[in-house]
């Protein structure tokens, strides 16, 4: 068996591959060779093979078959073997596989090895990927090693202890004795890792935190030495001595000083010293300043110090370095709640950052700007923010628009300003506003009664310019439908009223219906608006025509609406002016149109429609200017509405199209009659009303009527008036069925009835074939 190729050789070979396929082929060949080498238990070349495997793993190829080999390498006596073995373990194994537990014993032995480099390997592996089981098993060893005076090992053991605490927090107590003289170290590496250990303990346990507060003076002293000491070649970074240690100490001080007056006072001086003496020409100095500022803001520092901190952040904002500006904005965002006034002083700089070219900075500046908006600066800030909205990238527009709406709602100085602002957002970023903003805006407009005329005029003008932004179009359609009379009568007070005729308005709305830019939702809004105008405008005939055209629209939603509106024209024309239609309580795709007239008692019409967008309060007010004060009744469709029965009966009693009724089912006391009418103007739709009556002495409860039709038909079932068929023919349950029959085939139906009668469940299937020919011809 020839010696397996060397690692570098393999890497060179793989890099010569010109295509992915070629590379895959090479890798597969080599993997096969490695596998057979593993099978032969070849000790000499195991290290080389695993190293090659790790390289292939980095390229993205599977290497799990090398896991056990890593374990064998770890158990070897050769240092080079162990090194690769531990590296392989860290890359290929993880705590989710039980295989990793096999390492525990090896690590235990290596922790006690005579060579520090081997101990280091074991500590490193345990400290990087030790699972909770491994940590529990080996915590004792780690604790023992903490006592070593070997600084090379000590820093590694300390970080290993940190890892153990992270994995198994209960073991924290175990390491407490070792922390006795932790800070009296001179070696920076050990000192650094000790501070990390203390930080970890303090973060996890309030008791430990209280216990370690006494170390504050020592920490302050160490920090002072670092700042005051001269040049130390070993730890110098651009003129600053050991910035990593300084930052770590500052972080620990932050944790110890938080919420504690005494500790905070003890660190005041040193923090002021660091803040004023640190060299800021390089990133290093700024990193320390940044940490200092964070610490000052978190502890109970005196106000002078806090102002100093915010001024440092203000200076950061003017720094040329983007990173520093970004960091300043992030920190200011954190402190804006607590030190609002201090941050306000830097408002203009922050607003300037909105114009920065860097995306991360722009985002932070935007968030901070919104946080700074208050009643005093709302006008100025909004101007800047709207300008930003105009010119920013699409990824910001949605958040910015929402932010503007929120701020406007909270601090709007006047209603007109509020509506103007909303208009501006809708026209510049209209396609990015969130879906729920449309109902919210409608609500807002409704509530600003004195602004109706102004609003509808502005929205109308906006529609004339641009109909591509759906939320704008939807709000505009709704407004026009609602306040179209104000528009046409030219009643605007706030600005020059425009001259608009009814036909022009209808032209615009019809334009929306036919435009390709309009979504189905928008079309729904437009059609409803046209309908509402029928009680406000005089050109009712034109509206009737439009509505009837859409009765045969392909869009089912539109068709449904048109058909129903048509019904209003046909059947209730004499009452239409007296009706007050209010749309309330849209619950899960069902909504109620509550009809009430000054003549009749309330009745309730429930429609089952797919209304994906109307999920908020939406007032569809068709009050034709009457002084009716309607009493609006909220009812849920599942509650048996006896009132509902009345209306449907009404429909049943009103002029039928002359098709004779028929009995579809009559069995066991349950009789189901069908009555018919044509849904004008679409002759292909037959509207059937079922009337279920019960001649037995007991009620039929949980009554459910279901129907199915042959494939060429389409069926739609509306909700029933109730699901209790009262006994002894005391009442009927009615339900409307709509059948679309485009091919004019003979109507057939299969019905299924389920109900509970005298305590037992009844179910029955039946075929209905005796439809009168007029119903489907």
């Amino acid at each position: 068996m020839p010696a397996p190729i060397r690692l570098r050789e393999l890497i060179r070979t793989i890099r010569t591959a010109r295509t992915q396929a070629e590379e895959r082929e090479m890798i597969q060949k080599e993997c096969a060779a490695i596998r057979s080498s593993f099978r032969e238990e070849d000790n000499t070349y195991r290290c080389r093979n695993v190293a090659k495997l790790l390289y292939m793993h980095m390229l993205g190829y599977p290497a799990h078959f090398g896991q056990l080999e890593c374990l064998k390498l770890i158990a070897s006596q050769k240092f080079t073997d162990k090194r690769i073995g531990y590296l392989g373990a860290m890359l290929l194994l993880d705590e989710r596989q039980d295989v990793h537990l096999l390492m525990t014993n090896c690590i235990k032995n290596d922790l006690n090895h005579s060579t520090q480099y081997v101990q280091g390997l074991a500590l490193c592996t345990l400290g990087c990927m030790g699972s909770s089981e491994m940590c529990r098993d080996l915590a004792g060893e780690v604790e023992k090693l903490l006592k070593t005076s070997n600084s090379y090992l000590r820093k590694k053991v300390t970080l290993c202890a940190v890892h153990v605490i992270r994995k198994v927090p209960e073991l924290m107590e175990m390491f407490l004795p070792a922390t006795k003289n932790l800070l009296s170290e001179k070696n920076h590496g050990v000192l650094h890792t000790s501070v990390v250990l203390l930080t970890e303990m303090c973060e996890r346990s309030p008791d430990m935190l209280a216990h370690f507060r006494k170390l504050v003076p020592q920490l302050v002293r160490i920090l002072k030495n670092l700042i005051m000491s001269g040049y130390s070649p070993e730890h110098d970074v651009s003129g600053i001595s050991d910035p990593f240690l300084q930052v770590r100490i500052l972080r620990l001080l932050r944790i110890l000083g938080k919420g504690d007056d005494d500790s905070s006072e003890a660190m005041n001086d040193i923090l002021a010293q660091v803040a004023t003496n640190t060299e800021t020409s390089k990133n290093v100095g700024n990193a320390i300043l940044y940490e200092t500022v964070l610490t000052i803001m978190d502890i109970k520092s005196e106000s002078g110090l806090r102002v100093l901190a915010i001024n440092i952040l203000g200076r950061f904002l003017l720094n040329n370095d983007k990173n520093i500006r970004y960091v300043a904005l992030t920190s200011l965002l954190k402190t804006v709640q607590t030190d609002h006034n201090a941050v306000q002083r830097h408002r203009s700089t922050i607003v300037d950052c909105l114009k920065d070219l860097d995306v991360s900075i722009k985002r932070r500046a935007m968030e901070l700007s919104f946080a700074l908006v208050n009643g005093n600066n709302i006008r100025g800030m909004m101007k800047e923010l709207l300008y930003f909205l105009d010119s920013c990238d699409p990824e910001f527009k949605a958040d910015c628009a929402s932010g503007v709406f929120l701020a406007a709602e909270k601090y709007a100085p006047s209603k007109r300003w509020h509506i103007d602002t909303i208009m501006r957002v809708l026209t510049t970023a209209g396609s990015y506003v969130r879906d729920d903003s449309v109902p919210n805006l409608i609500q807002l407009i409704t509530n600003s009664v004195e602004m109706h005329a102004y609003t509808v005029q502005r929205l109308y003008k906006a529609l004339l310019d641009d109909i591509s932004q759906q939320p704008l179009v939807q709000v505009a359609s709704w407004c026009i439908g609602e306040y179209g009379d104000l528009l046409v009568s030219g009643q605007c007070e706030e600005e020059e009223p425009i001259q608009v005729t009814e036909d022009e308005v209808l032209d615009v709305l019809e334009g929306l219906l036919v435009s390709n830019l309009s979504t189905p939702v928008t079309r729904g809004y437009a059609l409803t608006a046209i309908m509402k105008l029928s009680t406000r405008f005089t050109s009712v005939n034109r509206i009737k025509k439009v509505v009837s055209i859409y009765g045969s629209s392909i869009d089912v939603e539109l068709q449904q609406r048109a058909v129903e509106y048509n019904a209003l024209f046909k059947k209730y024309d004499h009452m239409r002016n007296g009706f007050h239609l209010s749309l309330l309580m849209i619950i899960n795709f069902r909504f109620f149109v509550v009809l009430s007239s000054f003549k009749m008692v309330q009745v309730c019409l429930s429609c089952l429609c797919v209304v994906p967008i109307l999920q908020a309060n939406d007032l569809l007010d068709l009050l034709g200017g009457n002084d009716v004060v309607p009493v609006i009744q909220n009812t849920v469709s599942t509650k048996p509405a006896s009132a509902g029965g009345e209306l449907l009966d009404l429909l049943g009693d009103l002029s039928l199209s002359g098709i004779p009724p028929m009995t579809a089912y009559n069995k066991n006391g349950l009789k189901i009659d069908f009555t018919f009418e044509r849904a004008n103007p679409n002759p292909n739709i037959a509207v059937i009303t079922i009337h279920a009556s019960n001649s037995t002495e007991a009620d039929m409860t949980d009554f459910v009527f279901q129907a199915a039709v042959p494939k060429t038909f389409q069926l739609q079932l509306l909700s029933p008036s109730s699901n209790v068929v009262p006994a002894l023919n005391q009442g009927t349950v009615t339900q409307v069925i709509r059948v679309l029959n485009p091919q004019k085939q003979q109507l057939r139906m299969r019905i299924k009835l389920t109900y509970t009668h005298k305590g037992s469940a009844v179910q029955d299937l039946a075929e209905v074939n005796n439809f009168p020919p007029q119903s489907w011809q």
Partner: protein, 152 residues
């Protein structure tokens, strides 16, 4: 620190160090996300990104991107210094380090990293001490000697 990734300008991974336990699939996804996000950044943007609940600090050195993910309470400016320190260590060891050095000696790059960082924290703040440890563990003669002395 959560993870450290090194990748080329074409998105090829050169080094991956994970400081928390994660499944292979998660790792692959993160690598994909990071390379896409970082490579899409414009030339003179700031070196920080927000990704889920982590801060991503990245810096380009010649043809390699160094990408470090830290938790939200950590200091980003210091993270830049950490990346720089690692690059300096590599440079000292390899002498004018370039991407090829890291490709052909990836295991050494890992060993150096393991002397500098451990479990997501800095182990040693002195450049010289780290370099000395690496060089010492490289010399087989020394090690062999160390072994024999201790085994006597």
């Amino acid at each position: 620190m959560r993870f450290l990734l090194l990748f080329s300008r074409q998105g090829k991974l050169r080094l991956q160090k994970w400081f928390t336990s994660m499944s292979d699939r998660e790792k692959k996804k993160i690598i994909r996300d990071m390379t896409t996000m970082v490579l899409a950044r414009q030339a003179r943007s700031c070196n920080f990104l927000q990704w889920k609940d982590l801060k991503i600090i990245y810096k380009r050195y010649a043809s390699l991107y160094f990408c470090l993910a830290v938790e939200s309470q950590e200091n980003e400016l210091l993270a830049l210094e950490i990346i720089h320190r690692y690059v300096e260590l590599l440079d000292k060891y390899f002498g004018n380090v370039c991407e090829l050095d890291i490709i052909f000696n990836f295991e050494k790059a890992y060993f150096i990293l393991d002397e500098f960082l451990m479990g997501g924290e800095i182990q040693e703040t002195s450049k010289q001490i780290v370099n000395r440890s690496i060089e010492a563990s490289d010399i087989p003669r020394y090690l062999k000697l160390a072994f024999t002395i201790n085994n006597c």
